[in-house]
Amino acid sequence: MDDITRRKLRGLNDLVIDAVHAAVDETEKVHNEIARYPYAVLKRITPIAMPVRMIEFVQASITGLVYRTIRVGATAASTAAAVTLAALPDDKPKP
């Protein structure tokens, strides 16, 4: 593989992981914003406020874990791709 192709593939790999992280961050932010509304309403009802808080905590923990898993998985895949790219042999010089 020649240097220019390797540089471009490495760039594409970097861009994809940047895009995945940005997309996950934004999705998580919107997800949390949307989920906040019903919890805010339900927490005003005093008899169920405590269980609602507990459910909100559990839900936030689970979704946070899912988003973190996606980030870690994407980073691992990107790192593996970068290592593979680095290991590919250089073009042999033409005689």
Binding site: G11, D14, E26, K29, V30, E33
Partner: protein, 315 residues
Amino acid sequence: MTRSDPTAVPSTGWSERGISILNGVVGDYLDRRGNGLAIPMSFVQDGAPLAVNAHALQVAQPVLTGKVVVLVHGWCCNEDVWRFPDDGATYAAKLRRDAGYTPFAVRYNTGMPVAESGAALDQHLTALVNAYPRPIEALVLVGHSMGGLVIRSACAHGAPVGASWLPRVRHAFYLGTPHDGADLERFAQGATVALAATRNPVARLFGRVLGVRSAGVKDLREGGTSSTASGAEALVAVPWLATAKHHRLVGTLTDNPRHPVSKALGDGLVRVPVVSADTDAMAAPEVTVFPGVHHLQLARDPAVYAAILAACSAA
């Protein structure tokens, strides 16, 4: 396409075109991150960067004449935009055949601020003039869309330091260049602001995504070509280079330039300019309208080429 045709230029292929589009959309981000997909400005020959030294120029060009034409493409494009669809010819190669001009095409990251691309073009033209094996008597600059703004910005950068290429510029052609700003980018900015102001989190998300677009395309909003001394985003108009003839070649979507669609949309992206009475008459650009020629077609149209050739042949 056959290489036996002296005006035919090979296509760069879909991957290079894709990278150019990517650079137009997020090129400033790629540059900041040191991403390998960011396109550094260079002269290109057959899809590959051309080293600017006397030996490389002599190897690349069959004949080096005293007349040089440089093509600067627009936003999200590369030098492929100049290729006529039927025979792969370009304005530059045709000018070599018909008027003895030595052609050079520039490729650059169109997501960078126009002022930075202009500064880079100034440096490249200086290097070209210095490396060229014979004196350049006439330099013609042809810019399509954003490329025209980059040319004006290069002139603005070169003028204060007395750049060696500036006195050689005889003609500058601006094909569909949004000197007065581009409505589509104004719309995109309006949509970004409006979506960000809503209470809906999904709409705000779309606003943020729309706001990610590059500094280069944001510069098209007001047709700015030069950053202020502070380096801030504010842009100021720059004067036309007084020693060159300037030609604004603009298209319209319909065959009748007075049709409401053509008046409202121009060539689809850039409207036909209204010539102002207070424009500097010494260097005011000559405006030529090409009815029925849309924005991209301006870069590869027989009638537009005829106008360029006529101007170059006249002086």
